[in-house]
Amino acid sequence: MPIATNAVKRGKMQFYAKLFVYLGLACCLIFFDLKKQSFSSIKQEVSHFEYFVVDALLPSKDWVEQFASYFYSKGKLAQENEMLRGDQLLKDGRLQTLASVERRVEELQALLGLYQRSAFSMHAVTVITASDSPYEQTLKVRFEDGAPVKAGDYIIGARGLVGQVLHAEGVVAAVRLISDQRASVHVQILRTGFRGVVFGRGGRGSLELKFVPEETDIEVGDVLVTSGLGGRHPYGIPVGAVVSIEGADASSFSTILLKPLANLNANEDFLALTGALGNDLFVPDN
């Protein structure tokens, strides 16, 4: 028989011998402990020692628990913070929706007020699309079937003039905003009665009163309204307020910039003035 096989066999024998010894020893210990309670005194001593160790280690245990609880609470706080942040975002969204609805209701109430205040012909229009290009500032609006909306009608918001109908077909009309580069409105300064023409500058937040001699009495904050000249459109629809006046070096005209009073960007509902109108539609605040 080869020597290697003998060595392996001997190793196995040794292993099993050791295993049986230890298993036997363990079984004996179990038997003596459970049946004879041989180790109860040792167990008692050990438990005393344990109490002593636990007492000694109690402060450090507290410290460890505090340490763990610090990290646990920190993690929990971070988790709660994350949840609250998500909740806040959701609520912010809802709040913004509510604010938008509130704003729209206010706008509609103002338009209704205008409608009720006036005995003149006007029809509600709703924005379908808007072009915000600097070269073309237009809206497409929808109105109720049968409403006599036609080219040239003024579109007004609760605060003032928005634009003019370019053409209407069916229940849809194209509207050129007063801020369009090609738009012009004949206006009058409320304070002085000076008349002029306001042109769009291609941006929704900006208008320009052109060809105003430098010596003209005009101040920042002056409100300009439609002049009503020609009889087709009413007098007194607010158009814009002066925001800056600059004298030009090479010209005898001032550069006067205005801010439209109507909210050209945000509103969704306007009124189309479709009939002969009087001059008492808007009552300026100041």
């Binding site: 295993l19 363990a26 079984c27 004996c28 210990l29 179990i30 049946k35 180790f39 050990v46």
Partner: protein
């Protein structure tokens, strides 16, 4: 045969056993002792399975079991019996274990722990007629599912180990 091509130092095994001993004696806060893992048993079994020549010795395992028994206050010798049996199973079936696929390895560990728990429960039942705690059998088996974690840690730290 050394299973780990990159030999694990005895120091590392000693440290892991010390940590296992600490957890097995002190217990894990928040987990009832009947379902808490016997961390030392897991450590011993895992090292015995993969440690090859550097696996824990039977005498040391026996002594560790005695320490746990005295510390926990249970039947003296029960943990010694458990650890010795675990070591014996690991020594006899370690090579076959190494050759198995991961699922078989997990199944082997789970079954070993469950069977061992039943054997120990049976021994106690035989001697003092204490009913076997079926929860502890399930818990012991379930803690055997920690093997993939151990395997992942070892694979990361001992890159030359070819785990199947």
């Amino acid at each position: 045969m050394a299973v780990l091509p990159q030999k694990v130092s005895n120091k590392k095994i000693a440290w892991s056993i010390a940590v296992g001993l600490l957890f097995s004696t002190v217990g894990l806060s928040g987990i009832s002792r009947s379902i808490a893992p016997d961390v030392l048993a897991l450590v011993i079994f895992y090292w015995a399975l993969i440690g090859g020549d550097v696996r824990p010795k039977m005498s040391i395992v026996f002594l560790l079991g005695l320490i746990v028994d005295f510390a926990v206050g249970g039947a003296i010798g029960i943990h010694s019996l458990k650890y010795v049996l675990l070591l014996a199973v690991a020594v006899r079936l370690g090579n076959r274990f190494q050759m198995s696929i991961r699922l078989k390895k997990i199944a082997f560990i789970v079954v070993t722990f469950a069977v061992l728990e039943v054997i120990l429960g049976g021994v106690v039942l035989m001697l003092v007629k204490t009913p076997m705690d079926i929860k502890s059998v399930f818990a012991a088996a379930i803690w055997g599912l920690t093997w993939p974690i151990v395997e992942a840690v070892l694979a990361k730290n001992y890159s030359r180990i070819g785990f199947k």
